[in-house]
Structure formats: structure tokens, C-alpha cells
């Protein structure tokens, strides 16, 4: 990827984070305005002089200068970051105080600090994810809404509310306090996991948006691994599972834009480099005494990656990993995936038994792949009529054109003529 791709979007998170430390978290909107101003100036200069050697450093320095202008103009009328406010009031200490805040060693942790702040326990998980996308990844409300296939108004409300909640916290999360870092870490991991899943399984029909979300989640998870307290076995496992899944992204959508089930994917399209990276990370995650859901999911992905086809996939191992996952984080969707693995291991009849015994099965009533699984099992049992009915149910619940096309093809496969 060209390092200039999405440069502004990638840098905006770091710049907003650094400026928020200066202005105080209640002035988040001001920080965002200053970032826009810095982008404006960058374009005004770069269009004549070309892109500088180190664009991120140039942008950060410009943001710092814009911030100094704003502070000189507004420091008497605006409350700033409480911890340094008295330094910013006087012209004698203003510039040195700002320089100190923008020193390379200090801004290094800014993104992380903002990431932990976004995962405040008072915020519901969807709000945390939206906030991360908006503040850290530079997605506009419109782009977040698009990625989530949600209405603009709903996402705007979610982000505005979350920002208000963030603004009422006195200051940004302090990543230097070890005990607090460790306590907040699982929430951060969870939010990044959801962000990745939104990209991987999410409803947006556009392949480009989906892989962007996945890459953003991977970029932020890599930041966790760079921090001594963030590089836990769980973080390695999370990173491993993202790599192992992302490696399959190129094969998930075929040349004509159709969603491909794992069984039908052209496995030569898998990204071998990412697969290797994922396996390496999975190795590194295998320390300590606790086994997280990320470990189990990464291990399942690793078994899929090791197989050249569904037929020679180690379904015994995968089904037993799903047993473990059910004990760690039981949910109807996990139970459904477990049933699919059991069906691969013991045949469709057993798969149907497993599905029938899913607790809270009614929660799957709006999930298209619940009916798709029923359809596959009936088809394998040689009951195409029943199978077609299930695929039609699934089709009615499809959340994107890609899903619709996929399920439509499965329904057609139940016609006696098409075999």
C-alpha cells in the first residue's frame, strides 16, 4: 500500500489525540477543528511544494502551530486542560509547554490514550466502536453510518452522545497507570474485535469499506502490541485471529463481487503472508495460564487455514474448540457455528440435533445464516424441498446485496434440474 493512501485519515486520530491533551477533553470539537485547519494548510503548501519527506511529522508540526494561534486567541476565554492550564495562560511558558506536549516521546502514546478513553465503561459497546472509528480512524459520521449500514441520524446521535460522555470525563485516560491500563484493556480488545467483525461479517455491501474496517482494527491492535502492558497473550491472540481471518478476505468476494462460503473459496487467493503472520502471533499468544475467546477463535481460524479443502479440514479439533468457546462466551451464534462443525464431523442429522438444542434459539430468528445452515443440512440429507424453504427464509433476512445473491444461489442449488 502506498504510504500516502488515506494519509489524512490515518494521521487525524493521532493529531486529535495530541491536541485534546493540550485543550482538555471537553474541547474535543476544538481539537477536531484545528486538525481540519492543519489539513487545509498542508494542502495550501503541498500543492506548490510537493508532499514533504515526512508528511506525518509535517502535519503534527502544523497542528502544533495552529494550536498556538488558537491558544493565543482564546486562552483567556476558554477553560483548557486543567493540568497545564496555568502554563498556557502566560506567553512566557506557553510555547515551551506546548513544545513539551508535542515531543516525540510524549505523543507516542497519544493514540493509545485516546483509544482507552473511547472505551469508557459508561459507553455501550456500539458507541465505543463508533467513537473509535470517528476519532481515531478519521471516519466522518457519514462514513461510519455507511460502514455500519445505519442511518445517518442514528449514528450521528450515537457519536454525539458518546462524545458528550467523553467530554465530561475530566481528562484522557492515563496509560501510565498500570493497574488502570490492565483493568480497561479487555474493553479495548473487545471494541477492536467488534470493529474487525463489523468489517469482516458486517452488513456493508462494499468490499472496500469492509476491508478498510478490518485494516483499521488491525492497525490499532498492533498499537496495543507495541505497549509493554498491552502486549498480553490475549492481545497477541486477538491480533492472530485478525490476521488469519483477513488473510481470507481476498477469497471471500469472488471476481464478480459475490460472497463465497468458506467451502467454495479459491484458497489460492488467501494472503499467505498474513496467514504466516497470524500463525506466528498465535504462537506468541501461547503463554500464561488464561485461555481467552480470542485464543480459541484464532485456533479455529488456524485449523481452517491449514486445510486445503473442507473435506480434509480437522473438524474433530474444530468442533472441540467450539465446545471450549461455548464455555468461555456462550451465545446462540457460537452454538450455531458449533453445530455446523459437528455436522461436518458427524453428518447433517447430528447437526440438526445440535441446532434444535441451542438455548435461546429464538434469538437467531432474524439471522439469515441460521436458516442457511438448516438449508445446508437438509440438502445434505437429500431433502431439497425443505432445504429450499430454509434458503428462502434466509433470503428474506439477507442484509446486503452480496448476502442476497449468495443465498439466492443456494436456493437455486436445491432445484433438481440444476444438479
Amino acid at each position: 500500500m502506498d504510504p500516502r493512501d488515506h494519509l489524512f485519515r490515518r494521521e487525524s486520530g493521532r493529531m486529535v489525540a495530541a491536541l485534546t491533551r493540550l485543550f482538555g477533553v471537553h474541547n474535543l470539537a476544538l481539537a477536531e477543528d484545528v486538525v481540519q485547519e492543519a489539513f487545509c494548510r498542508a494542502i495550501e503548501v503541498w500543492r506548490f511544494r510537493g508532499v514533504p519527506d515526512n508528511p506525518p511529522a509535517w502535519l503534527m508540526a502544523t497542528a502544533k502551530n495552529c494550536a498556538l494561534d488558537v491558544l493565543r486567541r482564546e486562552r483567556t476565554v476558554r477553560a483548557l486542560a486543567p493540568a497545564i492550564e496555568h502554563h498556557l495562560r502566560s506567553e512566557w511558558t506557553l510555547a515551551p509547554a506546548v513544545e513539551e506536549l508535542f515531543a516525540p516521546g510524549v505523543i507516542k502514546d497519544d493514540l493509545l490514550r485516546m483509544m482507552f478513553s473511547c472505551c469508557h465503561p459508561r459507553l455501550p459497546e456500539p458507541a465505543q466502536v463508533a467513537l473509535i472509528l470517528n476519532i481515531l480512524c478519521g471516519f466522518t459520521v457519514d462514513e461510519v453510518a455507511h460502514a455500519f449500514m445505519s442511518g445517518y441520524a442514528a449514528i450521528e446521535k450515537r457519536i454525539t452522545r458518546a462524545k458528550k460522555a467523553l467530554a465530561t470525563s475530566e481528562e484522557l485516560f492515563d496509560v501510565a497507570v498500570g493497574s488502570e491500563f490492565t483493568a480497561r484493556l479487555p474493553a479495548v480488545q473487545r471494541a477492536l474485535y467488534l470493529l474487525f467483525n463489523e468489517g469482516y461479517h458486517g452488513a456493508s455491501p462494499q468490499a472496500a469499506v469492509r476491508s478498510e474496517l478490518c485494516h483499521e482494527a488491525m492497525r490499532l491492535t498492533a498499537l496495543l502490541l507495541q505497549h509493554p502492558l498491552g502486549a498480553t497473550p490475549e492481545s497477541y491472540a486477538l491480533s492472530a485471529l485478525m490476521c488469519l481471518h483477513a488473510a481470507r478476505l481476498p477469497a471471500r468476494i469472488d471476481a464478480s463481487g459475490n460472497l463465497q462460503a468458506l467451502a467454495d473459496q479459491d484458497r489460492s487467493k488467501w494472503d499467505l503472508e498474513l496467514l504466516g503472520e497470524g500463525l506466528k502471533l498465535l504462537d506468541m499468544s501461547a503463554t500464561g495460564s488464561s485461555l481467552s475467546e480470542f485464543h480459541v477463535e484464532a485456533a479455529i481460524a488456524a485449523f481452517h487455514a491449514a486445510a486445503t479443502h473442507t473435506a480434509n479440514t480437522d473438524w474433530v479439533a474444530i468442533a472441540s474448540l467450539y465446545d471450549t468457546l461455548m464455555s468461555l462466551r456462550p451465545s446462540p451464534v457460537v452454538a450455531l457455528n458449533r453445530a455446523i462443525a459437528v455436522a461436518q464431523r458427524d453428518g447433517p442429522e447430528r447437526g440438526l440435533d445440535e441446532i434444535r438444542s441451542i438455548a435461546e434459539r429464538d434469538r437467531l430468528a432474524r439471522y439469515p445464516f441460521y436458516f442457511a445452515a438448516l438449508g445446508e443440512f437438509e440438502l445434505q440429507r437429500g431433502r431439497p424441498e425443505a432445504a429450499r424453504e430454509h434458503f428462502r427464509c434466509a433470503l428474506n433476512l439477507a442484509r446486503s446485496p452480496a448476502e442476497r445473491q449468495f443465498l439466492d444461489r443456494r436456493a437455486s442449488a436445491c432445484n433438481p434440474r440444476s444438479t
Partner: protein
Amino acid sequence: MSEFTFLFRGRQQFTSPEQAQKSMEQWLAWFKTLGAQGHLKDPGHPLEPSGKVVRGNQKQVTDGPYAEAKDVVGGFTLIEARDLAEASELAKGCPILAVGGSVEVRPLQKLSM
């Protein structure tokens, strides 16, 4: 060949990083094309939005010029073209036009001895 300046007026405002990114790419592409076609005499310079204005016999110095955002000169470029018509045609490719800005095309006066 004659020489011209392009004076770029109007400040761009962006609503998103991606929009800023697109704008930058358009500018870089436009300058690249001008250069490849041999029209770019000097890429020129960006100008700060405001400075000082010195005026009159009294040599009065004031802050300024404080033009409206759409009238602020953001920079200038030196262009080589056959004539004013060709220079104006080249200016039509400028990305600033898409965001409410304008390009002033001015021939450099020739010293005829």
C-alpha cells in the same frame, strides 16, 4: 511562448480527512500534468492567508488584507503558454474551481525595447 501567473483565490474547507486527501491528490495530479506538458515555469509559492498592508503617504501599517475567504489569494504559479487563451484553458483544470475558488490568469508584461 509567453508567461502568465495563476493567482489562486479562495480557501478550501474540508468536512472530512478523506475529502482533504482527494483534494490534495487532485492538486498533485494537476501540477504533474502541467509539468509533463512543459507549461510549468515555476510551481510558485503558497501565501499565508494574511499579513500586513502598508498604505499611503503616512506609510500606515495595518493588519490585513482580511479579504473574504473566497477572495483570499492562496498562492501563485508561473505558467508558460502560447497565449492568454491557452493559459485560461489550462486554468480550467484547477481543482480549486470545484470548491468555489477561482483562478486569475494574468499575462506577465513584456519589456519591449
